[in-house]
Each structure stands twice: as C-alpha cells, then as structure tokens.
C-alpha cells in the first residue's frame, strides 16, 4: 500500500515536471493552445481514478505508477517496418502514426479526403479544428482525457467533405516504438453531410515493453453520413492502452463500430455516442480476448437524446487464465427520445476458473414509448458440442478453437470490409489456437 502511494506521488510529480519541461515547446504549437493549462489544472484537481470511482471500481490502474513513463519521443521508421502491419495487403489509403505522431513520409492518402497531421490541421484548417477539438470529449471528469489534452502534440485529422464517398477504406496504423514512455495520440475526424468512409484503426507494438498509449478521439458525423469504424488493439502484452472516443451524430447518420481488443496488460476503452437528432442509427460491436493477467475494460455510453433513433450493441469476449474483463454499457433514453429502439448485450466465455468478468449492462429510460432490451451472459464452451465434434475425429484442440471462433463470429461478421474481416478472423483464430484452455 505504502509502496503504491509512493509510486503514485512520484508518478504525479513526474507528470507535473514533465509538463513544466515541455511547456515552452507546447506553447509554440497552435494545437490546443489555451486549453492545455486548463486541462492540466483539472487533472491536478481530480487526480487519477481509484477503485472508489464508480467507473473504475473493477480496474485498478496502480500498476501504471510503477512504470515511470516519460513522454514518448518522435521516431522515424523505415517503410519496411510498417509492412507487416498492413491489414489489407495493398492499402491505398493509409496513415501512419508512430508514438502518437503523424508520419507524413510513411502515409499515403487519396485526394478526396483530407487526412493529415492534427498539428498541421490546427494551422491550416483552424476553422474546423477550433470548432470541434476538445469541444465534444470532455476532460472535466476524466484524468486521462485531461492528460491527453494537456500533452498531445499530434494525431490524425480527417475531413471528408460533403457528399464525398471514400471508396477505399483508410487504415490508421499506430505503431509504438518506445520503452517506458507515454504517447498521446489525439484524433479528430469530421465527416461531411452524405459522406461515407470506412476507418480501420489499429495499434501495434514494435517492441516488447511496457508503455502507455493514452488516446483521445472525437468523431463528428454530418447529416446522413455513414461511418464504419473498425479498431484493432493489438499492443504488446505489457503495454497500457487507455482510449476515449466521443462520437457525435447528426440526423440520419449511421455509425457502426467494431472494437477488437487483443493486447495490452491493461486496456480501457471509453466509447461515448451522442444521438442528438432524429433518424440516427448506431451499432457498437466489440470482441475482447484476454489471457495471462491481462485486463480489458470496455465502458460504453449511448445517449439517446432525440426520437426515432436506434442503437444496437453487442460485446463478446473470451477470457482465459487469470484474465479479467470489465463491461459497462450504459444506454440513456432521454425524455424526448420517443420511439427509440435500443438493444444491448454482453456475452463472455470464461475458459478458466480464475478468469473473471464484471459485466454491467444498464438501461436508463425516461421516455415511455420505446423498445429496449439488455442482458449479459457468462458461460463456458458447450460440452455437448465439443463431444459431438470429437466423435467426428476433430481434435480437442481444434474443437475448442472452432467453438470459440463461432462465438466470436457474431461480432466479427459485422466487419464490413471483407479483406479486413478475413484478416481479423485469421488473427483471432491464431490466438485461439495459441491458448488451449
């Protein structure tokens, strides 16, 4: 206990001195200028969450303090370094971020979208950036978002103009090449009216080491915009991945998210969606796979503020060894949000006695004419099915892998891009074969 406290105060003073050290450099940037000090001050007030915070009661972040992280330095990589992480084989649109910084040399983007460094956009598209950045994703109640807001120096800016349909998916490839450092990727995606895009956001490590990725994203969808957003978190198993995403949808828009969590010693995703107009559709799918002593935590919040919208949410996971899963899904249906349809489900397979899931699906409904359902299940593999497969000569190992895979399919099938889906299926199947029981 004492050790933890000492580590924590050391960590806190480190953050403070880090901010002082970088202050002059940070001030030179237009990005987040004027907001940083406020964010840092807010962080100083609220501090890191403890288990007494409702939203963190199952996720102990104290292991973070023993890693005295510094701010990650910029690194330039050779083109070959990124090849193994290309998901589609022949990505035509891809953006590479190394240690949270946009790498222009490694990135390639087609004409019709603006995708660039957020730091750059803060100068060249000040109109858009000033309107939206740090305006949707609040740092008042989140230590990590506050820190990201104080420290972020770069990230990805995407702007899809009105009526633009981006045919090829855009892969946002994040590589971590550091040891014991913190990166603060900061993203802002703005989708014009009637625009369409597929985003594939992935996180990988080039080194086996503990580090922290503290990510924050804001995504704004114009009227009738359609966004398919796949995120694959495949960080090193010593790493920390803490990400917050705020999505704001306008009338008639569709936002479909599939979030795959495979890596990290501790990963935490906060995904909030605001449905603040009519005719909106939101789909949140998630699949988490954890083993050893990994902890994976998904907190989602779907805010139905206006009538005639629908949301569907399905998060599934497979936990083995001592792994811990946390799912908290809040669906709020406000008084005005009549005719809302909301469905939410969390299902977890526990493959060992010591694996654990804390699942809390919850609906808060203040409108009276709605169709909503929610639920959570926890189970083991179907013994009957396993036996049946084995009577056909299928090895126990393969039978296990196939059943887990079938379980995952309900989520993976929602990955719209076929190549990406097949790649993810392969990765998941590999992982299933790696840990038999």
């Amino acid at each position: 206990m004492k050790d933890h406290n000492r580590a924590k105060s050391l960590y806190l003073s480190r953050i403070a001195s880090e901010f002082d050290r970088l202050r002059d450099d940070l001030k030179k940037q237009r990005l987040l200028n004027g907001t940083r000090d406020t964010a840092m001050a807010r962080f100083a007030e609220i501090g890191f969450p403890t288990k007494r915070h409702e939203k963190w009661k199952h996720t102990d972040i104290r292991s973070l303090f023993s890693c005295q992280f510094e701010t990650a330095e910029a690194v330039s990589l050779k083109k070959e370094a990124i090849d193994p992480f290309l998901l589609l084989g022949d990505e035509e649109n891809f953006v590479v971020c190394v240690n949270g910084r946009f790498d222009r040399k490694l990135s390639r983007i087609s004409e019709e979208i603006i995708a660039c460094s957020l730091a750059h956009a803060a100068e060249t598209r000040a109109d858009l950036v000033d309107t939206h950045l740090a305006k949707h994703l609040g740092f008042q109640n989140s230590a990590f978002v506050a820190l990201n807001t104080a420290f972020a120096t770069d990230g990805i800016f995407i702007y899809v103009p009105d009526h633009t349909i981006v045919e090829k998916p855009i892969h946002l490839l994040h590589l971590s090449d550091n040891e014991r450092a913190t990166a603060y990727p900061r993203h802002l995606f703005i989708m014009g009216r009637n625009s369409r895009i597929q985003l594939i956001e992935s996180y990988h490590s080039l080194r086996k080491s503990p580090y922290l990725n503290n990510c924050a994203s804001e995504i704004i969808l114009g009227n009738n915009a359609r966004v398919e957003h796949l995120k694959i978190q495949s960080e090193d198993e010593q790493a920390f991945h803490i990400a917050a995403r705020q999505v704001c949808q306008s009338r008639g828009s569709l936002y479909s998210s599939v979030a795959i969590d495979l890596g990290g010693s501790l990963s935490r995703n906060d995904l909030n969606v605001l449905l603040d107009a009519e005719g909106i559709e939101t789909n949140l799918y998630g699949f988490y796979l954890a083993r050893g002593s990994q902890l994976v935590d998904n907190h989602t919040f779907i805010d139905h503020a206006k009538p005639h919208c629908q949301s569907a949410e399905l998060y599934k996971g497979v936990l083995s060894d001592h792994a811990v899963g946390v799912f908290s899904g809040k669906v709020l249906v406000r008084k005005d949000a009549q005719k809302t349809k909301a469905f939410q489900q969390n299902q977890t397979l526990l493959l060992s006695q010591d694996a654990k899931i804390n699942s809390k699906p919850h609906l808060k409904i203040f409108a009276d004419d709605v169709k909503c359902s929610h639920g959570a299940t926890v189970g083991e593999l179907d013994e009957e099915a396993l036996f049946y497969m084995r009577t056909r000569g299928i090895s126990e190992e393969n039978a296990h892998a196939m059943l887990r895979y079938a379980f995952a399919q309900d989520v993976l099938a929602h990955i719209g891009n076929k190549t990406a889906r097949q790649r993810v299926e392969e990765i998941v199947m590999e992982r299933f074969k790696e840990h038999v029981n």
Binding site: R390, I394, L403
Partner: protein, 253 residues
C-alpha cells in the same frame, strides 16, 4: 473381426445399465439392435463413442483387435468408428463445411496424410449431398442449427458418407423421417456399406430393415441381449412384441 464386445457391463451415474453384453461384428455385416425404450441401446452407442459419464465396469470392447475403451473419443473416430446420434447436437456458428473439413483433415492428420484439397472436398461433399437429396446450401449452414428433425438425421448420414468409417453405429437414424426421406437415408447407408465395413442399426421399426437388410438381429432388454437371429427375428418381433422375447429369455434361463 471388426468389433468384439465381451461381457460388457456399464453404468451411468452409478446405476448399472448394461449387464453383460456380447456382440461380434465382422466386416461386411449389418447388425440390427432392437429393444424396448430404456433398455440400454443408446447407452451402448454412447459407451462405444466414449461419452463422459458412461463408465464400463466390466468386460471388454475390441475394435479391430485394439482396446477401444482405452482410446479417446477422437481417436476412436480416427480409427474408423462412427456414431450417428439419436439426438444430433446443434452447433451455432460452425458451418457444416467447416465442421466436416476439420473432421476429414484431423482424421487424415492422424493417419499421417496431408490436408484434403479444398476443391476435392467440395466436389466430394456436393456429390454426397446430391445422393442424399440435400441442397448444397446446407454446407454453409451451421451444424444442425434450426434443422428439422429429418434434416438432422439426414445430416448424420451425410457425415457418415463423407467420413467413410469402418464401423457405423446408427442410433435411431430412421425415427422422425418421412417415408421418402427414409428411403433416401437407407439408400445412403446402403451405398456406404461394403464388404470392408460394418453397420450396426439401432431401431424400433421393421420398416428400416425393409430397406437395409440386416444379417443379424439382436434384441436388447434391460441391458442384456436376450435373443439373436436372422432378419426374420425382426418380423417376429413386429408381430409378437418384446414380451415374447422377454418370456423366451426366461424360458432359456
């Protein structure tokens, strides 16, 4: 000899169900096992397949001379034992194609063979499905998921024809089938059956035996085979019921 069961005793949850079974099946033979509900027919089939909870407490089972009861379930399958279930299991999310391809490949791997070529597999599967009058769309459906009773049974015989085992034990594969389906399924079994392999049919009805002619018929009552004979025994049972067999057993005793 393909299968040799000697004085087999078996318990389920500490209750003795099989009380000394003797049965010999040679290559090329078809055996039918009949008997009243609860007499232990499915217990025998389950025991042969190695299902958990079914414990042999005495006797032995030799499969092609090897001790079957020492093998794992999948090893039995790889050695060439196939059981068509009375109640096939539904596996949502696993397609029949994937399921069978894995089975074929794992059995091949057991025998040191390489994986089956994907096209070869597909051609073979479509061929067998045609024989069983099944739509090839079934390949993409989840195993038994939402299948009608008859479709499930047909799927069992489809698997049988794909895996081509040395011994097939069919547990009431005929029940739940309409007359046309019965003919098709029986035809599937007959096509499978050669001089090299054996078939054990567990059934309640003579009508299946009209299509698949058994070489031997056995009557299982309360965990014992009380009567064995040729195919005329089935006809006799149909007329006189199991009471007759039970009484005749008493006479013998």
């Amino acid at each position: 000899m393909l299968l040799k069961i000697k004085e087999l005793r078996a318990s389920v949850k500490d209750t003795e169900i099989l009380k000394g079974i003797n049965l010999k099946v040679n290559r090329g033979e078809v055996h039918a096992i009949m008997g009243p509900n609860g007499s232990g027919k499915s217990t025998l089939a389950n025991l042969l397949s190695g299902r958990e909870g079914y414990e042999a407490t005495g006797g032995e089972v030799l499969f092609d001379g090897k001790n079957l009861l020492d093998m794992s379930t999948e090893e039995r399958a790889c050695q060439g034992l196939f059981l068509a279930f009375q109640y096939p299991v539904e596996i949502p999310g696993v397609s029949i194609a994937n399921f069978l391809k894995s089975a074929v490949n794992d059995i091949r791997a057991y025998h040191g063979l390489s994986k089956i070529d994907a096209m070869e597999f597909l051609t073979l599967a479509k061929d067998k499905m045609k024989m069983l009058d099944m739509d090839s769309k079934f390949l993409r459906r989840s195993v038994n998921d939402g299948f009608s009773g008859g479709e499930k049974k047909r799927n069992e015989v489809f698997q049988l024809s794909m895996l081509n085992p040395r011994l097939a034990v069919l547990d009431e594969t005929d029940s739940g089938l309409d007359i046309d389906a019965l003919k098709i399924v029986a035809n599937g079994v007959n096509r499978f059956h050669t001089k090299e392999n054996g078939v054990v049919l567990i059934t309640h009805y003579q009508r299946l035996l009209d299509y698949i002619a058994p070489d031997f018929v056995h009557v299982l009552v309360k965990g014992r085979i009380v009567e064995s004979g040729g195919k005329e025994l089935a006809l006799h049972l149909e007329k006189h019921g199991y009471d007759w067999a039970i009484k005749s057993k008493k006479r013998v005793n």
